[in-house]
């Protein structure tokens, strides 16, 4: 069976090509896929076929396939009618029809999915095919998607059926978890009881009813008539809408006994049958009349299967077969009328009966079956249905029977109206129509005759259908399909129905004009509009588009959440010390004052200087804490920061733009203080809770023995946690790259990053001294001290392993040396000092650092592993070398590169742009 599904899939893939090659005749070839399926199924009448392949066992979703009687019936219908409709489409579409290839592909794909659906034995697999049919129908309904009505109808069908489908999926999950398996045949074998089963039943039925357009979901089907008529004939008469009924029929024998099942189906079914039947009577568009007729018949089927007794099940199966045959026939007939005469309005059509007797004959055959005339299948099924409820043993059976009788009366009436409207002569009108190609007419013909044939062959057919019906718990005498049971109650009802239906048609003009109590499409539209409005309102409320708002939300979450925890369960330590040395307090006061003043400052430069001061204060705290390396780096970084900021700020207005309104300002301050309190509180709690000894306790001895250095922090940076440092310098590299990319935006401009000997003359503005913007003394001095500083930076680099210093400090010092050169002489001096591409330096640095790591691996060690080399060299004396120094050299280079890049971008290039801008 999986193979057959695959055949359809392959056919779908090649179909567009075929159509391009053979034109519309290609549809005959495409029809071979469903035809093969039909033959395969017919060859396996009366036996049960199963297949199983694992797919995602963890989710209980496997490729379990099973064809028992009911599945066989559906498979035959789906495949047979699918093939016929495809063949019919050849003539329906003009040669060279736009999008015919897509039509063929999607149609056959749909047929494959439909076949998979009816033979799926795994609930989830069934859902898979179920949704696939939904999606394909979405694509098929909007065959001409440039018309809004078509798009709208397609989307409506998609969303309504998917809604039901998802509910059904939830139902499946509940059912499967109650049963411990998702394989239907196993659930059937020992059905689960109790639990959430009632909920599962309701959810599953939601899916079935929506798919089969049962009230209150009926509305999508008439809208879906926007589809080409062959699509309607297949999807909306024979195949897709039957899926829901099929599900009811499949689960009925097992779940029928569960409370909500029977009443729900009987009520909605009968209601749908009556409402839709009544509406069908009032249509002028033949296709719409059939559409409402279909809804009505689906209601009938739902109700009959909902009866969930053995005889009702049998009747349902018979009706299902009958309906598929006659309804698709009639759709195909309407398609022919539509194409040949150009209208489907029964007020326009006149005299077709005489002009096209063959077509009329076909329609009458099908109509007779629909109206339930003997010996057609429609009659056989309806008899069985009447009998099932007439001799039913459940409460409400007679009420249902009454509903069925009235519904059938309506059916007879609109059948007559259909035939009259399509073919009768009407005074003052004549419809011209060209003769119909026989290779077109034959397809509905086959279906119509089949309707007659199976009716005649009701007995043997019934024999095989019994095998399905017997799945239901037996009660009372077993009914058997036949055209003639003698003069029985059902026969009387059938006669009554026919007479009443005829009368209803005869007096159709005197009927009261009452329409459906409510219009589902309108409700759907209101719901969707409401949804759109909700979406806009909610998004407008949450998505403010303002950065301070977003930051505020995050910080509020912080304050609310962590503040709550601090007040609540957080363990507050009972001992604390005010300070380690009283000097800390002095420095702290300095930091606090500077920070607060920075917040209040109105001039950019002032604010920055104050921020810098608090930074220096922190550096002093580091010294007091016993962290010389930190202090050194912090001093250098703060200085570098101030320089950078100044370089940029000299371009920006001196004052901040006017303060925002007072309220929001107060809010900010309140939030800031709250965050500060929470941060302080968390620090207090976390530090106070420490009992374990830190891993770093053994660092000092390891630093010497493994790391070969006395300065523990440096050993940590270049050896113990060199992996962090490697990441960190790549951050620097990419940050520098980013600065360059923002300042010189174009690739060609980026070449200037290498530093071209710019015009003599320092940066314009207050930095340059004198009219020429350049101060000789300053330049001379800097040139004198430059090399000294650079030498010092190198010293820091190499001594770093045993004393405060290291690559970062060294690099920063070198960078500051370059800064001094630039400040003194601008672009020209900078280039003179470092005539290289900043990018090169960065790249080289990264290569060196990462390279040492890789070399260690190549040398057979772990990544970034270091070695200590102690050698006695003649003359030079003892050499003590730790390979991690090379890593630190890389760091040094990267930092220098960063500083150089910053000077080139934020300094020189901005100068150039400003000069250019004038």
């Amino acid at each position: 069976m999986l193979v057959l599904v695959g055949v359809h899939a392959v056919m779908a893939v090649v179909a567009p090509g075929l159509v391009r090659w053979l034109g519309r005749r290609a549809l005959y070839v495409v029809a071979l896929a469903p035809l093969a399926t039909l033959c395969w199924a017919l060859a396996r009448t009366n036996d049960t076929v199963t297949e199983s392949y694992t797919w995602v066992a963890q989710l209980g979703i496997d490729l379990d396939l099973r064809m028992a009687t009911l599945n066989w019936l559906l498979a035959v219908l789906v495949a047979g009618i699918g093939a016929i409709v495809l063949a019919y489409s050849v003539r329906y579409f003009p040669e060279g029809q736009q999008g015919l290839g897509r039509y063929a592909a999607v149609f056959v794909a749909f047929a494959g999915a439909m076949f998979g659906l009816v033979v799926a034995d795994n609930l989830f697999l069934l859902y898979v095919f179920w949704e696939l049919t939904t999606v394909f129908s979405y694509l098929l309904i909007a065959q001409d998607p440039t018309r809004r009505a078509n798009r709208w109808a397609a989307t409506q069908a998609l969303l309504v059926t998917t809604l039901g489908g998802l509910a059904m999926l939830a139902g499946f999950v509940i059912l499967g978890q109650a049963a411990g398996t998702y394989r239907w045949s196993e659930i059937e074998a020992n059905p689960p009881r109790g639990g959430h089963l009632a909920a599962a039943v309701v959810l599953i039925l939601l899916g079935a009813l929506s798919k089969s357009a049962i009230f209150p979901f009926s509305f999508w089907l008439p809208s879906a008539m926007a589809a080409p008529t062959p699509v309607s004939a297949y999807l909306h008469a024979a195949a897709m809408v039957k899926a829901g009924v099929f599900l009811v029929a499949l689960l009925g024998p097992t779940l029928g006994a569960d409370p909500p099942w029977r009443p729900l189906l009987l009520a909605t079914g009968v209601l749908t049958m009556l409402l839709a039947g009544w509406t069908a009577l009032r249509q002028h568009d033949l296709k719409l009349m059939l559409a409402y007729g279909t809804v009505s018949q689906l209601g009938l089927l739902t109700a009959v299967f909902g009866g969930s007794s053995r005889n009702a099940g049998l009747a349902g199966a018979a009706m299902l077969l009958a309906h598929a045959l006659f309804k698709s026939t009639l759709f195909l007939v309407v398609g022919i009328i539509d194409v040949t005469t150009g209208t489907r309005d029964l007020r326009e059509l006149s005299g077709l009966g005489r002009r096209q007797p063959a077509l009329a004959a076909i329609a009458i055959l099908a109509g007779a079956s629909m109206a339930g005339l003997p010996p057609f299948m429609g009659f056989v099924g309806k008899e069985a249905a009447f009998d099932a409820f007439l001799h039913g043993h459940r409460t409400g059976d007679l009420a249902v029977l009454a509903g069925l009788v009235i519904g059938s009366t309506l059916t007879v009436a609109y059948t007559l109206r259909f035939l009259w409207g399509a073919f009768a002569d009407k005074e003052g009108k004549t419809t011209t129509a060209p003769p119909i190609a026989p290779d077109w007419l034959v397809w509905p013909g086959i279906l119509a005759v089949a309707g007659l044939a199976v009716g005649a062959a009701a007995k043997p057919l019934g024999g095989s259908l019994d095998r399905y019906a017997d799945l239901f718990p037996a009660e009372g005498a077993a009914y058997h399909l036949a055209v003639w049971h003698g003069f029985t109650g059902p026969l009387g009802l059938s006669v009554l129905v026919l007479v009443a239906g005829g009368a209803l048609f005869y007096y159709r003009h005197r009927l009261p004009r009452l329409g459906l109590p409510f219009d589902g499409s309108a409700v759907y539209q209101r719901v969707m509009n409401g949804l759109d409005r909700l979406a806009v309102e909610l998004t407008g409320a949450t998505q403010r588009g303002s950065l301070p708002f977003y930051l505020g939300v995050i910080l509020l979450a912080l304050v609310a959440g962590l503040g709550g925890i601090l007040i609540g369960p957080a363990p507050w330590p009972d001992d604390a010390r005010a300070w380690d040395t009283s000097l800390q307090v002095v420095v702290a006061v300095g930091i606090v004052v500077a920070a607060v003043a920075a917040v209040r400052a109105l001039r950019r430069l002032t604010a920055m200087v104050l921020v810098g001061l608090s930074g220096y204060g922190v550096a002093v705290l580091f010294i007091l804490h016993g962290a010389p390396d930190l202090a050194l780096t912090q001093f250098l970084v703060e200085t570098a920061t101030i320089v950078m900021v100044v370089l940029v700020l000299r371009r920006l207005p001196a004052k901040f733009s006017e303060r925002t309104i007072r309220t929001s300002r107060l809010g900010r301050i309140a939030l800031g203080i709250a965050v500060g309190v929470v941060a302080a509180g968390m620090t207090f709690v976390a530090v106070g809770a420490r009992e374990a000894t830190p891993v770093s306790a053994i660092f000092p001895e390891l630093a010497v023995s493994f790391g070969g250095g006395d300065n523990v922090v440096n050993v940590v940076l270049v050896d113990i946690r060199a992996w962090d440092t490697m990441g960190e310098i790549s951050v620097l590299v990419v940050a520098a790259t980013g600065v360059a990319s923002l300042i010189f935006r174009r690739t060609e401009a980026l070449q200037r990053r290498r530093g071209v000997p710019g015009p003599a003359g320092g940066p314009p503005g207050w930095l340059g001294a004198g009219p020429s913007g350049q101060s000789i003394i300053l330049q001379v001095v800097t040139r004198l001290i430059f090399h000294a500083i650079v030498l010092f930076s190198v010293f820091l680099l190499f001594s770093g392993h045993n004393a405060p210093g290291g690559g970062f400090a060294g690099g920063l010092v070198a960078g500051l040396a370059l800064t001094v050169r630039y400040l003194a002489g601008g672009q020209a001096e900078l280039t003179a000092a470092a005539p290289i591409d900043a990018g090169m330096v960065l790249g080289a640095g990264l290569i060196v650092s990462v390279g040492t790591g890789v070399l260690a691996m190549l040398a057979g060690g772990q990544v970034l592993q270091t070695a200590i080399v102690d050698k006695h060299l003649p003359v030079l004396g003892d050499l003590h070398l730790v390979t991690s120094i090379f890593f630190d050299i890389g760091v040094y280079l990267v930092v220098v590169g960063l500083m150089l890049d910053i000077l080139r971008s934020l300094g020189a290039e901005i100068d150039r742009q400003e000069v250019a801008a004038g």
Binding site: L547, A686, A692, V733, G839, V850, V854
Partner: protein, 506 residues
């Protein structure tokens, strides 16, 4: 085979360094980046195999014994993440090369692009491999700073505006993350995740909850969890198509990775589970409604991105094996699909000349290929079976249903509703951009001239990703085996901890 472990970080870093020195030779740059990322993909696949065969791989960097130095840990979870991210980044690189070749470096200095992109990759892999809290922070910083550069590349006005939002919010998240690291060290005196797993258990509950929440807050911003998510739709859509694609696919997932790691390894069974579930529900619904309100495809997709983060949170919050397993599966699916869709939208933008729905139309008729390339991943995103989106969703629903309880059921309902609304959102895009008659002059011109030719590399890489996304359905069985084992190990904790301890001082 532990030699493989550091390579996914080291290779792209070296590549970045080399491309930096090659700024004047774009051809060479392209080759280096391609070579580097292909190598990473190869290594990642090899690593996944090794991990599945020999179990978790641990490397003590610099041969410093655990817990002194930094450890790199590749368990099934991280190895899987490495493979997916490597595959996606490679495809996107090819795509962007195609785009760069087509457009030249007019408003995108490629000499900047390549090194930054490689460093971004290195950052992602660092985060996935790190077995050390502070190193995880460093990994985040690497990928974030690289992303700052990439999102503002070209420096146009809207990119600067969006970039500023992105950068500042991310900076705040980094500050919070670092705060969390500092607090954890202050309380526990170590940074090694495996050791922390033991030491944190000893701490009082209130304190553990506090540390847990600080880290969750920091990661929640990166993972775009409502209400911390509003920055994302404002910033992602303005960037270059490939940049948006890789951000949408990967960056939020790194945040999720961190959440999964921290929740399972450091704070198992904490009271944050239900919190996560509530946030998951809000994220799903608010996100998808946001998508419905949009009228620009890129923004619409950004909102679906936020919304579907909720799915993965759902699984994490359930904290049962199927839930976590499905969450990981969904991460894999979502990385692929979300990236694909943004790449397709990049093609749409070239072809139709816009991403605003009111200026697009008729694309399905103009370029059936483009139609297929959009429709398949779109349905996949909407969780239409048999695609991976459906399978992930199904796993989550089963996990939620089996867990039971009102909140869990609410999540199940929310997940189903979100799936329907996602379908509604993408169907709207399909109706307007692909089915409606062309409305823009550009598209009409395209209709007459058959449209601008799309660069072959861009289309090719997109097709590759679409195929990968569909392939996930085929390999779903084995993949679920893998994620299942990964989830089991995560929830058990012992496999990870023991593997790391194995490298420790004996």
């Amino acid at each position: 085979m532990t030699a493989l472990v550091p390579l996914p970080v080291v290779i792209p870093l070296l590549g970045a360094a080399v491309t930096l020195t090659l700024t004047r030779f774009p051809q060479a740059q392209r080759l280096v980046s391609l070579a580097a990322l292909s190598a990473v993909l190869g290594v990642a696949i090899a690593l996944l195999v090794v991990v599945c065969v020999d179990g978790t791989q641990v490397v003590a960097v610099g041969a410093w014994p655990v817990p002194i130095g930094i450890v790199l840990v590749a368990d099934q979870f991280s190895a899987l993440m490495l493979v997916v991210s490597a595959a996606v980044t490679l495809c996107v690189l090819v795509y962007s090369i195609g785009q760069g070749l087509a457009d030249g470096s007019e408003d995108t200095p490629l000499s900047i692009y390549h090194p930054s992109y490689l460093v971004l990759t290195a950052g992602v892999t660092t985060a996935f491999l790190s077995g050390d809290l502070f190193n995880l922070y460093v990994g985040f910083e690497i990928l974030l700073v690289a992303s700052y550069v990439l999102i503002t590349v070209g420096g146009t006005e809207d990119r600067i505006r969006a970039g500023t939002t992105y950068v500042v919010v991310s900076l705040l998240s980094s500050v919070l993350f670092l705060t969390g690291v500092g607090l954890v060290y202050a309380a526990a005196g170590t940074l090694n995740l495996a050791q922390l797993a033991g030491r944190l258990d000893a701490l009082p509950d209130g304190l553990r909850l506090m540390l847990n929440c600080v880290l969750l807050l920091a990661f929640g911003i990166k993972a775009a969890v409502f209400p911390l998510s509003a920055w994302l739709p404002d910033s992602y859509p303005t960037a270059l198509a490939p940049v948006t694609a890789v951000f949408a696919g990967l960056l939020t997932k790194v945040g999720l990775y961190a959440i999964i790691r921290v929740e399972t390894l450091l704070f198992p069974g904490g009271p944050t589970r239900d919190l996560l579930l509530v946030l998951a529900l809000l994220t799903m619904l608010v996100g998808i409604l946001g998508a419905i309100a949009q009228s620009d495809v890129k923004r619409l997709l950004s909102f679906t991105l936020v919304s579907h983060i909720g799915y993965m949170l759902f699984g994490i919050g359930l904290a049962n094996e199927l839930g976590v397993s499905s969450a990981i599966f969904y991460v894999v699916h979502h990385i692929t699909i979300q990236t694909t869709l943004f790449l397709v939208v990049g093609l749409v933008e070239r072809y139709g000349g816009a991403t605003a729905l009111d200026r697009l139309g008729g694309l399905a008729a103009l370029s059936p290929l483009l139609g297929v390339l959009f429709f398949v991943p779109a349905m996949n995103l909407a969780g239409i079976p048999p695609f991976s989106g459906f399978l992930g969703k199904l796993g989550l629903i089963e996990a939620g249903a089996s867990a039971g309880g009102g909140l869990r059921w609410a999540l199940v309902a929310g997940a189903l509703a979100t799936s329907l609304l996602t379908l509604y959102a993408v169907a709207r895009v399909w109706n307007l951009a692909f089915w409606r008659k062309p409305v823009t002059t550009r598209a009409e011109a395209a209709q007459t001239e058959g449209g601008p030719a799309l660069p072959r590399l861009m289309v090719g890489s997109t097709i590759a990703l679409v195929v990968l996304g569909v392939a996930l359905t085929g390999i779903a069985g084995p993949l679920f085996d893998l994620t299942g084992d990964a989830a089991a190990d995560l929830l058990e904790r012992a496999p990870y901890v023991d593997a790391v301890r194995g490298e420790g001082i004996r």
